[in-house]
């Protein structure tokens, strides 16, 4: 007997009262807790009526995967198992999701890259699974420190990418992620990113609703593609790849399907706008000439800089991007329309977000876009470093 068959109209298999995402995120009363990002992932998944989770418990990760395993032992997760390696895990996640299960996993850094081939496959099969990515460095040589270069590898996989700033956002975002990914007109995988260590291992206060409520389950029968069946897509795609049958059929399918996968992610915008309360969040002076455009921990560091610049009499503004795929182009243009200098502080060596911002603003903004400060390999970004960079463009009177 499956766990789903033990559910009633009101209660899931763990005995939690089922509620809408709106109730969970916006209406249910909350209490203060003090915990790490890894621990909050457990709390979020506990409230999501998750059918399946697969993990590869490797060191450059976080405790999140093993905590989801504890949830399984406690009866909150339908099934939980360990893969042989990261590639195996991501393939097994696909299998669970194709079979109609709400599925989650977490990984980071070298693990993400080892599993890479699976992510475009996830998007191509339109499965609404969630990957919680706790960004770490990738091998150059082996590193496990906080660094989000790996996100640049995920950008064109067809998966949606959201970026949480802190423990609180990680909780709210991972709950909303399932709901948006599972919308029948969206129905693509979602990657919720946080910076490893800076969020996964950081202990801070967070407001959580009670744990006796949980989301309604995923309804696979509302999916645009039917649950797995070896004669129907998506199962058929994999059992009999078109290219093995007919190059012409493969061509005809992919020529349209690649666009459709990306259109599906585009259709997530209104839902994301609702559940995330906007695709970008801005703080600071509306008409400031100095604007920081950032995501994740870099937004936190920018807010420190904003506070220090205010003390020095310089107006500034922080524009935090909450979705990276789809990219919030219109919101970014609106939020930076008064900017004279746009700084893109980043925790990676290549400046992938700088490139994204340049692409979005090309021909539409007269601001000088500065891809600095940039740190990598686990370095933190002290506010002093950001102020020094701003000082290269704007006169800062010390001790004002």
């Amino acid at each position: 007997m499956t766990l789903r068959s033990q559910m009633t109209a009101e209660k899931n298999w763990a005995g939690q009262t089922m509620v809408t995402a709106d109730h969970m995120l916006f209406e249910a009363p909350r209490e203060k807790h003090f915990m790490t990002g890894s621990e909050v992932v457990k709390e979020a998944m506990k409230r999501c009526t998750v059918d399946a989770s697969v993990s590869y418990p490797i060191t450059p990760q976080s405790e999140a995967a093993h905590l989801i395993g504890e949830l399984w032992a406690e009866g909150y997760i339908g099934t939980y198992f360990r893969g042989e390696n990261e590639f195996g895990v991501m393939s097994e996640v696909a299998g669970c999701a194709m079979a109609g299960a709400r599925t989650v996993t977490t990984t980071s850094g070298p693990g993400t890259l080892r599993a890479m081939e699976n992510f475009p496959m996830w998007a191509g099969t339109r499965i609404p699974c969630q990957l919680i990515l706790m960004a770490r460095g990738i091998n150059s040589p082996l590193t496990i420190q906080p660094d989000n270069l790996e996100v640049s590898f995920m950008l064109e996989t067809g998966c949606m990418i959201w970026y949480a700033e802190n423990v609180q956002e990680l909780f709210d975002m991972t709950i909303a992620a399932f709901i948006v990914a599972e919308k029948p007109d969206v129905h693509v995988p979602i990657v919720t990113v946080v910076d490893g260590f800076f969020v996964s291992h950081t202990r801070e206060s967070v407001m959580l609703p009670a744990d006796d409520i949980a989301l309604f389950p995923y309804d696979p029968y509302a999916a645009p593609l039917p649950p797995i069946d070896s004669e129907m897509p998506p199962g058929r795609f994999l059992r009999d790849p078109f290219v093995m049958k007919s190059n012409y059929i493969s061509y005809a399918t992919h020529a349209s399907w690649q666009w459709e996968v990306r259109s599906a992610a585009e259709r997530s915008r209104p839902y994301a706008k609702h559940f995330l309360k906007g695709l970008v969040h801005s703080v600071g002076d509306e008409d400031a000439e100095v604007v920081f455009v950032s995501c994740g921990t870099a937004s936190h560091q920018s807010k420190e800089a904003n506070r220090e610049l205010t003390k020095l009499g310089i107006k500034s503004k922080v524009v935090k991007l909450r979705t990276i795929r789809p990219f919030p182009t219109a919101e970014l243009l609106e939020a930076t329309k008064n900017a004279k200098y746009i700084f893109v502080p980043e925790f990676n060596v290549t400046g992938w977000l700088h490139n994204e911002v340049l692409q979005a603003l090309y021909g539409k903004s007269e601001a000088t876009v500065v891809g600095k400060p940039r740190v990598a390999g686990g370095m933190s970004m002290p506010v002093e470093v950001i102020l020094k960079e701003v000082g290269n463009f704007v006169k800062i009177e010390q001790g004002a």
Partner: protein, 236 residues
């Protein structure tokens, strides 16, 4: 003049409990009504390898994350941090702010005349004590060194009370706690040393409390002034 927020850097060796201490420090400060954040910085580290953790405490929201490059307080858990450079930053006081504080766990003086001059010029006070001996005498185990260090920190700050520290220690040892394999092993070692968890908590608290009192006295002797603003009133 006290500040609205401070940053504490804790260079230690793997196994000494600096990560635990940072978490307890942040929990205690949060209990007292401060904004507080703690985070560790380590890799696939083993015992005796450099391991750092950080606590930030303030009366204003704290956005800053990661390694503390410009600390107000540096807490050295082991002499090897200084003598063998087992620290993410060299020298161990790199980046320390004016009017700061250095707490060193050592039975001998470790600072050179050069170090002393640099720190004195920045009006940084240095408290060197054998906190490990202190832990062995009071708690009966060197594993409580981190509790002594924690007590010293709050003795110097003066605005986080002993009941809040107790709350932090209880939160760590009574609640289900997420830890790596190595930390879980150390947890079981220390728990075996005591008959009951309450004994462990009491001994840890006594160690922290004695170090707290010692440091309060030391602050008066050397004229170390309060560094951090008083906390916001806690909502009922």
């Amino acid at each position: 003049m006290s500040k609205d927020s401070i940053k504490i850097r804790m260079p230690a060796l793997g196994g000494q409990g600096a990560v635990t201490a940072a978490h307890i420090a942040a929990t205690a400060a949060d209990t007292e009504g401060y904004y507080a954040v703690s985070n560790p910085f380590f890799g696939a580290e083993k015992r005796m390898a450099p391991s750092e953790s950080y606590t930030r405490i303030g009366t204003v929201p704290i956005y800053d994350r990661g390694e503390v490059v410009y600390p107000d307080i540096v807490m050295i858990y082991h002499p090897q941090v200084v003598t063998m450079g087992k620290s993410y930053t060299m020298p161990f006081y790199a980046g320390i702010k004016d009017n700061g504080l250095v707490i060193i766990n050592s039975d001998i003086e470790l600072l050179t005349e050069g170090d002393k001059k640099i720190l004195a010029d920045k009006n940084v006070k240095v408290l060197t004590r054998d906190f490990t001996k202190f832990a062995v005498e009071i708690a009966g185990t060197e594993l409580a060194t981190n509790m002594a260090m924690l007590g010293a920190l709050f003795g110097a700050l003066g605005t986080v009370s002993k009941p809040a520290i107790e709350e932090g220690i209880k939160d760590r040892f009574l609640k289900k706690y997420t830890a790596s394999g190595g930390t879980a092993t150390l947890d079981s070692v220390i728990q075996k040393k005591f008959k009951k968890k309450q004994d462990l908590i009491d001994k840890n608290l006594q160690t922290a409390s004695a170090a707290f009192d010692l440091t309060v006295e030391w602050c008066k002797e050397v004229g170390f002034e309060r560094m951090l603003d008083a906390p916001n009133p806690v909502e009922a």
